[in-house]
C-alpha cells in the first residue's frame, strides 16, 4: 500500500508542480497574484473537450493546441488588462479576479453549467512493485516531466530565461542591464498560462470538465506556493510533490477533504516556524 500511496502522490504531484510553477513564476516576476490561473487550466481542459472530445483530433495535437490557446488568451489579458495596473498590487489582483469570472462566464455561455467527461485516450494499468499504475496517469506524468524539463532548460540556458531570473531577483538592476521588463512580463505571463493550459489539457480525460473546475485547482496551487515559498521555482517543485504525497496518503487513509485539511495544516505550521516557506527568500 505504501508504494501505491507514493506512486499516486508523485503522479498527481507532478501536475500540481506544473500548476504551481506558472503561478509562482508570475508572482516572482510581475508581483501579481493571478486569480485567473485556475481558469487558464479550465480553458485548457475545455479546448481538449472541443478538439479531442468533439472534433476527434489526435489527443496530443489537441493538448498542444489547448496550451497555445491558453497562452494566447494569457498574452492578450496581460497586454490589455494587467499591464496598466502593474505597479499596484491590490487593483492588479482584483483585475485577475475579473478575468477569472469573465472566463467562467464565457465557459458557462458556451458549454453550460454541467460537468462533462471525455473518453480516455489510454486505458489499462501496469504494475510497479506492488502498485497498480493506470496508463493514462502515467502518460500525464511523463508529459509533465517533459514540460518540466523544457521549462527548466528555458529558465537556465536561454537568454530570455536568464532575463526572467534577473527581473525576478531585482527589477531595477535588471532594467539597468538593458533588460526590457515589459517584454519579460509578457513572456512570463504567456508561459504561465501555457503551463496552466497544458496541465488542464492533460488532466481533461481524468477529471470531469466544467466551468468551475479551476477553483479547487488554484486553491492547491496557493497551498503549494506558500509551502514552497512565494515566487520560488524550486519551492514550487518541492511543494507540489510534497502536497501530492501528503494528499495521496491522507486521501487513501481517510478522504480527499481530510487530505486538503492536512495540507492546509502543514502550511500553517510552516508559516509559524518558517514564514518564508521551505525554499523562499526573505519577503521584500
Amino acid at each position: 500500500m505504501i508504494t501505491q500511496i507514493i506512486v499516486n502522490g508523485l503522479l498527481s504531484g507532478l501536475v500540481y508542480v506544473i500548476m504551481a510553477l506558472g503561478f509562482t513564476l508570475v508572482f516572482g516576476i510581475m508581483r501579481v497574484v493571478n486569480f485567473a490561473h485556475g481558469e487558464f487550466y479550465m480553458v485548457g481542459a475545455m479546448a481538449v473537450l472541443l478538439f479531442y472530445g468533439y472534433l476527434g483530433w489526435p489527443f496530443f495535437v489537441a493538448v498542444a493546441t489547448a496550451g497555445i490557446i491558453s497562452a494566447l488568451i494569457g498574452l492578450i489579458v496581460e497586454r490589455l488588462l494587467l499591464r496598466p495596473l502593474l505597479s499596484e498590487e491590490m487593483p492588479g489582483m482584483i483585475m485577475t479576479l475579473a478575468v477569472a469570472i469573465t472566463l467562467q462566464s464565457a465557459a458557462l455561455l458556451i458549454v453550460g453549467p454541467s460537468e462533462q467527461g471525455i473518453s480516455r485516450p489510454f486505458g489499462g494499468t501496469w504494475t510497479l512493485l506492488d502498485a497498480r499504475v493506470p496508463w493514462d496517469r502515467t502518460i500525464v506524468a511523463l508529459c509533465a516531466l517533459v514540460i518540466l524539463a523544457g521549462f527548466y532548460s528555458l529558465l537556465k540556458f536561454t537568454p530570455v530565461g536568464l532575463a526572467m531570473q534577473a527581473v525576478a531577483q531585482d527589477r531595477e538592476t535588471a532594467s539597468l542591464m538593458g533588460i526590457e521588463s515589459k517584454r519579460i512580463y509578457a513572456v512570463a505571463f504567456g508561459i504561465s498560462c501555457l503551463l496552466a493550459g497544458l496541465a488542464g489539457a492533460l488532466m481533461a480525460p481524468i477529471y470531469p470538465i466544467g466551468p468551475y473546475m479551476g477553483e479547487i485547482v488554484i486553491m492547491k496551487a496557493f497551498v503549494i506556493v506558500i509551502l514552497g515559498g512565494l515566487g520560488s521555482v524550486p519551492g514550487a517543485m518541492l511543494g507540489g510533490l510534497l502536497i501530492g504525497l501528503c494528499e495521496s496518503a491522507v486521501a487513501t487513509l481517510l478522504n480527499p477533504t481530510a487530505a486538503l485539511i492536512a495540507s492546509f495544516g502543514i502550511v500553517l505550521v510552516i508559516i509559524i516556524f518558517r514564514p518564508t516557506g521551505l525554499m523562499g527568500r526573505a519577503v521584500r
Binding site: F27, V33, L81, P84, L85, E89, M90, P91, M93, I94, M95, L97, A98, V99, A100, I101, T102, Q104, S105, A106, L108, L109, P113, E215, I216, M219, F222, V223, V225, I226, L230, N255, T257, L260, I261, F264, V267, L268, I271, I272, P275, T276, V283
Partner: protein, 308 residues
Amino acid sequence: MKSRYVILAVAVLAVVPWILDNRYFFHIATMATIMIPLAISMNLMLKIGQLSLAQGAFMGLGGYGAALLTMRLGVPPMVSLLTGGLIAAVVAAVFGPIFLRIKGTYFVLLTFSFGEIVNLIMQDWISLTGGNSGLYGIPKFSIFGFRLTAISHYYAMGLIFTAISFGVLWAIERSDIGAIFQSLNENEMVTRSLGGNAIAWRIAAFVLSALIAGIAGGFYAFYLGLLTPDAFGMRTLVDLIVMNTIGGPASVIGPMLGAILIVPLPELLREARQYQLLIYGISLGVFLMFFRQGLVGLLRLDKPGDRP
C-alpha cells in the same frame, strides 16, 4: 458632495419597501440588509490593505453555528445569532495571528484556502450540516417571546443590524483608530515607530470583520430557513469584491452603495448566472481601469482621509 446627504438618501430608500408593500421588494431589501454588513466587513480589511477571502467562511460559521444551536440544542434564536457571530470571531482570533504573520499577499492566499476548506467541510460533514442538499427547517427568529413571522419583521431586524454595523464602522473610520488603520495600509514603519502595535491592530480588524460576517450569516439562516454551503463560497466573495470595487473601498459608504446596486442583480437575473458573471467581470474591469475610486470617487464624497 457631503457623505451625510448620501446616508440620508439611503435612509429614505430604506423606507420604500413599506410604501410599496410588495413581498418581492421586501425580499430584495432584506437581502441587502444581509449583504451590506458583509460588504462592510470586507471593506474593514481592505482599509488595512488586506483582501480577506474568508468572509464567506465566517458568514457560514455564523450561519450554521446559529442554526444548529437553535435546532439541536434549543438555544433562543437571539442568543444563537450572537453566539454564531462569536464563533466566527473566535475562529478569526485563532487563525488571524497566523494569517497576518506575513504582510501582504500571503493573507489573500491563506484566507482563500481557509474559505475553500471550511466550505468543503460544510459539504462533507453531512450528519451535521446536511451537506450540499442543505440544512432545512431552521425555526423562525424570535426575540423576547415575539416571533418574527412576516417578511417586514425580518426587514426591520436587518435594518437595525445594518444600521449598527454601518454606524460602528463609520465611527471607527472617523476616529483615531481609523487613522491607525489607514497608516497601517500606507506606511507601517511610521505607525510602529510611533508606538502602534501593527499586528495587534490587524488582528483586531480581522476579528471585528469576522464578528459582523458571522452575525450576518446567522441572520441569513433565520431569514431563509435553509442553508446550503454554496451560499458561503466563492460566489458570495465575488459579490462582496464587486460591491467594494464599484462602490469604492475608500469609505464605508462605498460598499453600502455597491451592495444596494448589486443585490437586486441576481434576483433579476435568477436563471442566467452566466450573464451575471459577465456583467461582474466587465464592470470590475471598467471600474479598475477608469474609476478606481468607485462611486465614492465619482460622487466626490468626502473621505475619512481628508478631514480638515
